[in-house]
Symmetry: T
């Protein structure tokens, strides 16, 4: 059984209440359940977390160095501002999937640069909660 770390960055804990025209009405808890259910079908044990802190996000990424088989990350705002997250992701030798609910390239200019993309070559963006499902499918494919 593969252990997958699913990391969520700042303000994603407010999903469902925040700008639903952009992000949809599902809560992060709904998405966690989706991931756990869908992960089961791939034989994944999902470790699903959210934090508003850049430092905690770095801590968690470092945890993935041992005992995890894959990382799926939606770093939200830190995608665009955190070189520390970028450096942490470079520590990993397991597959990394970058996911976004919306497509940052459709939004403001300051969301067009991604420190995460420079490291995690695989990107799925713009499918709403479905981005997570597609991301798990992609991990399953790689780990198979």
């Amino acid at each position: 059984m593969a252990r997958i770390l699913v990391l969520n960055g700042p303000n994603l804990n407010k999903l469902g209440t925040r700008e639903p025209n952009i992000y949809g009405t599902q809560t992060l808890s709904d998405i966690e359940k989706l991931c756990i259910d869908h992960g089961t079908s791939h034989g994944f044990e999902i470790d699903f977390r959210q934090t508003n802190s850049e430092g905690t996000l770095v801590d968690w990424i470092q945890e993935a160095c041992d005992g995890y088989h894959g990382v799926m990350i939606n770093a939200a705002a830190y995608t665009h501002t955190s070189l520390a997250v970028h450096d942490a992701l470079k520590l990993l030798s397991i597959p990394i999937i970058e996911v976004h609910l919306s497509n940052p390239h459709e939004r403001e200019d300051f969301r067009h640069h991604s420190y995460v993309s420079l490291v995690a070559a695989k990107v799925i963006a713009g499918h709403g909660a479905r981005s997570y499902i597609l991301g798990l499918d992609a991990l399953a494919e790689i780990l198979a």
Copy 2:
């Protein structure tokens, strides 16, 4: 049965021979078969095409205005230079999925801007031929 137009831009006809360390060894014909097979499981009729011409790509996108239910496009180099492709995609009211074999954001700076992303909010990049499969899954989800 849904009709899906899968469009491929310049040089993708050379897949499998070209920079295999970046793009893998599968040919475009292999990918077409993958799409047709995988499409069948979603009840899709796949119309799979490739062209090196920007104008032909625009012509084909316009065809999708009538009788198609979704478009999946890997515009390759035209992703980054073609405003005409961008304008054509804006004509469509059916779902559009942007796919890339590799993640353009990992490559040269001139591949970081996407005229396609500005229109087709859904993006799947970096999964190799698997990007097409994930793209069809995403279309199936939307059309369901």
Copy 3:
């Protein structure tokens, strides 16, 4: 009788169906009729064409080197990206009128630079289909 070449760039064949709030509901065929009718009053024989291909647009501009007395061009997206169209227009020694249905300067930043304007000093923009009529009037004035 003066022969006038009226050239239309990519996606203009979809006029009337595409973003009518920006471009109006007239089709390109309607505009062609307008041009032929209005051209008659100036003694113009109108040769009206549209293509989605940058190369074809270049071919047609080159045709205007012989046997034509004026060119009116709406290069659409190629206005902003095609140095080849720019170079072709520099071949001509007959008057050139640049027309646009909307004013590109009101739209996205990537429509603010015009390779056509650098060559065709006369510009008429933002009058919808009426831009073509005003353009023919301007040609009539110059050729008179």
Copy 4:
């Protein structure tokens, strides 16, 4: 009978003496007469003015809020530097036509940005004194 305000910005009072290779030999007074004559054929009462002062230009644009049916403006240098003129034009709910004798996009880089174009979507440039005639035709069309 429609009242049309025709506004001319700095240095246009020197037309005919200034750089005739760019602007032609007609004086502004000649152009005023052209406008009045041509305006009559459209049933226009032309109110034709020129000023070198940005503030006066703003004052006059504000006058157009009441009792006028259209504005045609050649803001000359203020086209490119005056945000105040831009803000004044936004006050109007009548049609606005931007005219230029030459095409600013053919000239120095600092004439490529237009604060007027951002507001007055209709542009006629590069036809010399004829730009004013075409501009009145366009206004006639809109007001008809």
Copy 5:
């Protein structure tokens, strides 16, 4: 009794008619009354003026060198384009308050740079007509 010069730049004389969704429905005359009333409570004699002319604005700022105890300025469009206003404000040794009805940083990019802010360290923006009241309160505090 302190004399306060309240200066208003271009187009503010049209307040109440212009883009009420951004600027509210109060006229500049309403705001003048608000300032005189509120100023009285602070023992202020309010000298309230408006001009569309950059030069006049400079003249008036220079007047404040003698016999005034404070300046409150809403330079409107000249905030962003007038180095002359900036230089005039540097002549003063009395307190300067910069006010704006809306927050320019929420609007177009060309309203993000302020020549006034570089000189008048105190800024109040985005409170509508209330910005003037808060500005007078701030002056009262400084002069107390």
Copy 6:
């Protein structure tokens, strides 16, 4: 009675010791007392906090979603670097006031862009501790 959350970003806990020529000699504790006293006069219950952590600042902004009537924020350095704070502020539907002791636009270039201003349209800057008092007045006005 209205509950107001007053948030202070990094290094503001050192006020009074840090660069007094820029920030004055009052400590943050002095400012908290000022706010509580002044808030009472408006019927405000003030919840005054400071943190050096971007993540904690995001947490606290999210708290304001429930049970608070207004937010006043001096995000200090995070004003200029934190997209996460920006995104958190967008979650709120209560009034937001941005305050600064000094005017960032008078200081280094990297303090000229504000992620907070893009969301919190009301800004008060450069009045030292008095900025907080003016900010509470502004909130009282809005909530009244």
Copy 7:
């Protein structure tokens, strides 16, 4: 006897009171006397003027088209922002000398670009009031 127009831009009427560490203690009236005295030795009739208005500056430059033999201009802030002044200076066929009390290139970045220098190739900067004397000497040389 040669007639020389000496033009001074915004805020120069405040010389002697304004930032004396940069501009010295001489008033503009002192400089006018210096110019008249020194001009006499060259057989110059000096017409010395100052305005805070961009439009008036343009008017005065246009006056120099007739009956003047040379222009010396210190456009102050308009040096850096006024394309209208630039266009007016291009109307002249008599020699133009650009003078500055200080050297703008030693000051803020927004004083490094000069619209005047693009036209009036002769520049004398940084000599305080002496810049005017040197400027008259240069005009004398040219006119001799």
Copy 8:
């Protein structure tokens, strides 16, 4: 006998008529003859083509993957705008020579970037028709 593909981009078919002060009076047909004659002396079979279409240029470059021993390309305007041509050239493992009649670095800024140079390290520019001869000499040297 080595087969050499000589590719010419847009508007080169008009050589001899177009801006002879820049490009000389030789036609492309003259240059083809020069190449065939000179190629013979190196034992080259010359396959000489011209197209105005970016897509066709890509097609032809791809043809060179099989049965050719070298490519000499003058991509004209596509040199500066075509990422698709760049990608196609990367497919080749035979020597590539970039030629230009004039030196693009002497001309407008938008001709200073070359997508071709990034791939075809060997460049010969500015020798007019002679550039082609020098290019064949270089190919002969490499293939020898």
Copy 9:
């Protein structure tokens, strides 16, 4: 005996495992021992810490205001993104040494700007673990 605070930023806790070709194989614990040993020879009591959190880094820098004689900081990724760290360092009146294992100027562009360098004028970079030893030597020299 002098107390020295040695601060380490994000991901340095993973030294020895992370990109050893860039950073060497020594762990941060090895470096701590090196510092304590080498510090003893200078009579230094070393307080050695690491955190992945920007806020904690700010907290710790603030601690150095009291009871410490010097600070040596390797802010890692926060060197380049944290204005908050910059502001905290400005609070200190004791010597500050900036150290880096590698030279950031040899790496990606986004590591070329240093918010730390703007405050801590002394820099030692590129010596691997040896940078810390050289840094302590420099502190010993200053404090002697």
Copy 10:
């Protein structure tokens, strides 16, 4: 008697032969004589030198630290590229005058930045050989 060092940078030894439409027909030797003659009238001993070497120019500027009363420098191309010349000029405590034959601001963009102007605030440009005479006059004034 005051000793004045007059320094000339690269290619000025070719004056009179080089681009006479820009620089005039006087040789540098002619200018040296002009300077010696004119200097005599001010009681100046002129030490006039030219070099094509940046290092020699730095050497000579350093010489001016002792036994000279003023420096007049036309650094030619090194004006725009030499930080070493800039640093050398900062060593001096005697007056420095920057002269240019033409006005660099009228020429190519890469001649618009001056490392010399940042140090030698006094500038005389565009008067041809006369610039040197005006420069000596200015030095005489300062030293008087």
Copy 11:
């Protein structure tokens, strides 16, 4: 017999030892011999020189004004930084050929701008030592 000056800039004296994967193993002395031999076949007397000094390079270019029939220059690093070399080359009225061993456009960004190309329109780059041979051929053609 034509005299040709062949100039080599900094570090080219180390050819053959320096980065052979980029520059090949031939020494500059080998290249000199190649040039002399090949030059003989064209009736050229080759004057071949190398210097690390920008000033000496300028001196030598100036020598070419008299008694030489052509210049071939590989300015190496000074290609990209020396405006003085550019100005010296503008003095010449004989043909100038710019050569490079590698293609600077394939290397770092700071090697993409060429001050030499702006003057010497003929460029041959990327052919290794062969660039010199091709350059002499081109000179022979021009001089014939």
Copy 12:
């Protein structure tokens, strides 16, 4: 015994007289003695040189290819402008230490880019004369 070449760039020969608030009062001769003394303790033979000439600096760096064991370089102004120095340093295979008396990143923007840092990964800056001692210590460590 190791031979170390210590190279000093332009204006460093004036140390002790030049801007002592930035560079201290020690002369370069003092620093040379420091280096020789300190070098002895490491068994170093110090070859200490200074030049104002970029070309001479390149010559000397090339000398280090043979018979030297390390280079320590303070290129002063050439650090920021000399690509030739950069290229010369790339010739070396012995360790290179970059030293600066002050930290260039604290000074003007044009001192923030270092051509030396791109090659010499080890940097010591801001320690005054002590930078040289630390640099020798670092070399000793590497060579041991």
